[in-house]
């Protein structure tokens, strides 16, 4: 599924749509270079699920927890290498009733679950002031069904 996102407001709106299809124990991988809007998308999801405080980049802290319903575990593996992940205690969070939103999952390799919703954000014009392309694809039946539902409710972009 392809979506063109023209503004920060639209990115937040996409987050709200994602919030409607995500539930307990879901895993979402967020790919895209620095500054494309991954954290903005997470903000949209968290706000839609009732989180009222700040959603900031977890690059330094590696993980933020938002007490939304269900809770969100916002990971960022930007600073990590794969051998760090084995020591991180990820299993304490995945499949514990929350939604895991993971930035820079490329580092994770085999430690991370294969089945997930993948969102890849790119800058088609190579211009940070311009539009974003969001490509969404699912791995695993559960996420394919969720992607179908998302297709029906997303009302932004082209």
């Amino acid at each position: 599924m392809h979506i063109t996102v023209n503004s920060e407001e639209d990115m937040l709106k996409l987050g709200r749509c994602l919030a409607a299809i995500l539930g307990e124990d879901d895993v979402v991988y967020l790919l895209g270079e620095l500054g494309v809007g991954k954290t903005v998308l997470v903000r949209g999801i968290a706000q839609a699920l009732g989180y009222k405080h700040r959603v900031t980049s977890p690059t330094f802290t590696i993980m933020n927890v938002y007490d939304s319903t269900p809770p969100i575990y916002h990971f960022d593996f930007y600073r990590l290498q794969s051998h760090d992940l084995a020591d991180l205690g990820l299993e304490d969070y995945l499949e514990c009733g929350g939604i895991s939103l993971i930035e820079w999952p490329q580092v994770g390799g085999k430690v991370l679950p294969r089945e997930a919703l993948n969102l890849e954000i790119t800058l088609p014009a190579d211009d940070y002031e311009g539009a974003r392309q969001v490509q969404i694809y699912a791995q695993g039946r559960k996420y394919q069904e969720k992607l179908e539902r998302l297709r029906q409710i997303v009302d932004i972009g082209d």
Partner: protein, 339 residues
């Protein structure tokens, strides 16, 4: 007169394994930091010591070195202080478990310290004449916050970043521009060879009347400017570094001064790793002097993560009898400055 109080401080909330012994909340007898920066440099800044394994390997040695450096025995310690928040749970737990066992073994009280309060306290380790109320700018890799402080333990958050922390923005731009790690010193070094104003970057939120910050937009504006400059072929990375630093520092300085004026305080405190940035120190000094505000800044060593600030802050809890139970847990929560 109260007898001398010796506190062992332990800090493992992020990249450093650190231990220190501080006398009476003031005199640093030992300050041991096992930093992994040289390893980070080899790998371009992507191997932080968040893995608790490294803290486990280091902690006993670091604590022993602190006792050797201070020339004290374990029995000389009156309390054990440890960082319990914020940070990654696995990393925090190494220091916390060690501190609990140490305190229990010696039959001494345990004191839980907030890492950010520790950073603020670094000022009190070095200055005797700090008067309240004060405005404190806490600025590091993970935080950019303005506090209104009535006392060491009495403060409120008046503003903070809505997205990236200032130190994080430095790191990401340094990496994007290929300037190395850690990003703050790398940008500062490049900026000295460059000229601000040739590139034009926004002073984000300076037009707003509140104390919120946003550095994500500055980051993308810098990356955009760089991509455009590369296409035109006429560019100097040092000029962009200089403009980036200038834009970030101007916002931090302006908002801090405005906060001091709005809250009618005479004192400004600077704290956290980014407080080591020379441009920030110089500009904040100038602005504070012009408005007759007293500015306090910790030494470079005490700006970065260390355990002396933890042991120092804990002295005040010790005096107040504010001890932690041995079943206390680590708290990863990010905005733990808000009570």
């Amino acid at each position: 007169m109260m007898k001398d109080v010796y506190i062992l401080g332990i800090e493992t909330s992020c990249d450093e394994t650190a231990a220190a012994i501080v006398k009476n909340g003031k005199e640093i007898l030992a300050n041991v930091i096992n930093s992994q920066i040289s390893i980070h440099q080899q790998f371009g800044g992507v191997v932080p010591e968040v893995a608790s394994r490294k803290h486990i390997e280091n902690i006993a040695t670091v604590v022993n070195n602190a006792f050797t450096e201070a020339g004290l025995s374990h029995q000389d310690i009156d309390a054990v202080a440890v960082t319990t928040m914020p940070g990654l749970v696995g990393a925090l737990l190494v220091g916390l478990s060690f501190a609990k066992a140490f305190a229990y073994g010696l039959n001494r009280p345990l004191i839980a310290v907030n890492h950010l309060q520790g950073h603020i306290y670094a000022n009190f380790l070095q200055h005797n004449d700090i008067e309240f109320p004060a405005i404190c700018l806490v600025v590091s890799g993970g935080h950019t916050s303005l506090l209104y402080m009535r006392g060491i333990n009495d403060y409120e958050l008046i503003g903070a970043t809505k997205d990236d922390a200032a130190g994080e923005a430095f790191d990401k731009i340094a990496r994007f521009l290929g300037l190395g790690y850690p990003g703050g010193p790398a940008i500062q070094k490049a900026a000295q060879q460059g000229q601000a104003g040739l590139f034009k970057l926004p002073r984000v939120f300076l037009d707003r009347n509140d104390f919120e910050f946003s550095f994500s937009g500055l980051k993308t504006a810098a990356m955009n400017s760089w991509k455009k400059a590369e296409k035109q072929g006429n560019y100097k990375v040092e000029d962009l570094a200089a403009e980036f630093q200038a834009a970030l520092v101007e916002v931090l300085v302006e908002k801090t001064i405005r906060a001091a004026q709005k809250y009618k305080v005479g004192t400004i405190l600077l704290a956290g790793g980014v407080a080591a940035n020379q441009d920030l120190r110089t500009r904040l000094e100038e602005s504070a002097r012009q408005r007759q505000l007293n500015l306090f800044v910790p030494s470079f060593l005490l700006c970065t993560d260390n355990a002396a600030m933890i042991a120092g802050k804990a002295y005040h809890d010790y005096v107040n009898g504010d001890f932690a139970p041995l079943n206390i847990n680590a708290q990863p929560s990010q905005y733990s400055l808000i009570k």
